[in-house]
Symmetry: C2
Subunit: 287 residues, 2 copies
C-alpha cells in the first residue's frame, strides 16, 4: 500500500499507530517527538534513539507504505517544510512572540495546503464560467465573511463585470429580491448555515440568479441552495476565536477566480487593467 501524500505524514503515523508492532511504535514515538532529528540522521542513529535495531526502523517505514527509509525521510522533510500541523503545536500563553508567530504562520500555511488538496476544479470552473457569462455580480457576506466580500470589491476590475457589495444584511436582501436571470450572486459564509444568509441566497436563486457559494461546509444548507458550491476545507479552529484561516483560504480562492476570469477575458481587458494600474500609481503619489 503506497503512502498517500494527501494526508499529512505525522497525522498518518498517528492513525497507523494501533496497527504497528510494539517496537515499531517506539520508532513512531521517536519520529513524532523530534522529526527534525530524524530527517537529519541516518537509519542507525534513529534506531539507537528509539532503542531498536535498524531493520525495525526499516520495517516501520514499509509498514507506513514507503519503499524504504530514504523515501520516508524525504516525505518527512516535506511535511516539516509546511510547518507542524496545528494539532501538534497548540498555542499557549507561555509562548514567546517568535514562537507564536511561527505557530500561527505554520497553521495558516498547512491549512492552505489542505485547502489546495481538497479543492474541486469542476466547481471552480463552473463558477468561472458563470461569472464570465454574467451581466453583473453581487456579493453577500456578513461578519468575518464581509471581509471577503470587500476583497472581491477590490478585485472587481479584474472580474470585468459591474460588481456590487451591499454592506449589511438588509441591503443584501434587497439586492437578492431584485435579482434577475443572468446575474451572479456570490454568497460567502463559512458555516453555511447563518439563517440571514440562507434567506438571501434562496431569494436570489428563486429570482433566477446564479448562486455561487463559498463555504467551509459543503454539506451545509447553503450548499443545497447554491447552483455552484466551492468548498473551502481548512483545519478546524476550535481553539481559536476567529476563523482567520478559513477567511484567508477564501481570499485565495477569490484570487484564483479573479485571476482566471481576468485571463479568460483576453488581451483588451488586460490592456485596460494595465492602464488603470499606471493611473493609480500616479494618483497614489499625488493625493
Amino acid at each position: 500500500m503506497p503512502f498517500d501524500p494527501g494526508v499529512p505524514l505525522l497525522e498518518h503515523i498517528a492513525t497507523m499507530l494501533p496497527s504497528l508492532r510494539p517496537s515499531e511504535r517506539q520508532v513512531a514515538n521517536t519520529v513524532s517527538e523530534d522529526a527534525a532529528f530524524v530527517v537529519a540522521s541516518t537509519m542507525a542513529a534513529v534506531a539507537e534513539a528509539a532503542g531498536v535495531s535498524e531493520p525495525t526502523v526499516m520495517r516501520f517505514c514499509t509498514s507506513l507504505g514507503f519503499d524504504g527509509f530514504q523515501q520516508f525521510k524525504l516525505a518527512l522533510a516535506q511535511s516539516l517544510a509546511l510547518g507542524l500541523p496545528s494539532t501538534l503545536s497548540a498555542i499557549s500563553a507561555e509562548d514567546s512572540v517568535s514562537e507564536l508567530a511561527t505557530k500561527v504562520f505554520d497553521h495558516t500555511i498547512s491549512s492552505l495546503d489542505r485547502t489546495r488538496r481538497y479543492l474541486d476544479a469542476v466547481s471552480l470552473g463552473a463558477a468561472i464560467d458563470a461569472i464570465l457569462g454574467a451581466t453583473s455580480m453581487t456579493v453577500a457576506g456578513l461578519g468575518a465573511s464581509g471581509v471577503i466580500a470587500l476583497d472581491v470589491e477590490q478585485k472587481a476590475v479584474l472580474f470585468g463585470v459591474p460588481c456590487s457589495v451591499p454592506s449589511d444584511s438588509h441591503q443584501q436582501f434587497m439586492a437578492a429580491a431584485l435579482a434577475e436571470p443572468g446575474q451572479v450572486f456570490l454568497v460567502v459564509s463559512n458555516t453555511g448555515s447563518t439563517s440571514t444568509i440562507l434567506q438571501i441566497a434562496r431569494r436570489a436563486r428563486d429570482n433566477g440568479a446564479t448562486v455561487v457559494a463559498i463555504t467551509g461546509d459543503e454539506t451545509s444548507e447553503l450548499a443545497g441552495i447554491a447552483d455552484v458550491t466551492i468548498a473551502v476545507k481548512t483545519f478546524e479552529d476550535t481553539d481559536r476565536d476567529t476563523p482567520t484561516v478559513s477567511r484567508i483560504a477564501s481570499l485565495v480562492i477569490v484570487d484564483v477566480l479573479a485571476t482566471a476570469v481576468s485571463l479568460r477575458r483576453g488581451a483588451a481587458h488586460a490592456a485596460r487593467l494595465a492602464s488603470m494600474k499606471e493611473q493609480l500609481a500616479a494618483f497614489r503619489r499625488l493625493t
Copy 2:
C-alpha cells in the same frame, strides 16, 4: 559557507548561477527544470541527466553551501513542498483551472513562508506591547489595505481595546488630528508611500499617538515616520494586478498580533470571549 534556509532554494540557485563553474551550471539547469526528478533520483542519475560526472554534481552541492548531495536533496524536497515560486511557474492564459489554482496557491504559500522567515520578532513584540498599553486603537488603510483594516475591526474583540476603523481618508485624517498620547495608530500600506497615508501617519505621530506601521517596504517613508514598523516581505507581484499575497500576509500578521494580545490579557479576557462566541452562535441561527 553553510546554506541559509531563509532564502528559497531555487532562488538561491538562480542567484549563485554566475559564480558557478560551467559544468555546475548544467547541473543547476537540470535541477531547475525538473526538481522533482532530482529529489527522487541518485547522484549518478542526476549526473547523467545533466551530462556531467558525479563529482561535478557533488561540487555543485558544496558550491551552494551544502555538506553533500543528500543534504541538498533534503533541502530541495522541502522547498518543493511549499510549491514552486511564482517566478518559476508563471501564470498563463493556457492554464487549466486546476493548474491555475495550484499556481496561485503555491505562490501564496511560498510567499507566506518568506514572510515568516523575514519576520522581525522585536518589532512584533513592540507592537504587541504598544497595543497592550493603549487606551484605544485606530486603524488606517486605503484601497486594498482597507480590507486589512476591516479585518482588524473583526478582531477588535480580541485586542480588548476600543478599536475604530474610519472608512475613508478624510475620516482617517480627522481621527489622526484628534489623536492623543496613549493611543495606538495602526497604519497599513503596502507601498508605504501613498501620500495621504503618510500625512495621516505624520499627524497621528505629531499628536503623540504611537504609530505602528504594517508595510511591504521597510525602507519606505512610512517606516521612517512610524514608532514601530512591521515589515511584510513577500514575493513581488509585478506580473499580477492586485497585491493579493501581500494583503494575505498582512492578514496573518494581524492574526499574530491579535492572538498575542489576547493571550497576554489573561483568563478574564478569555472568558469574556468564550461567552461572546456562544452568544454569537445563537444569534447566527436566529436571525
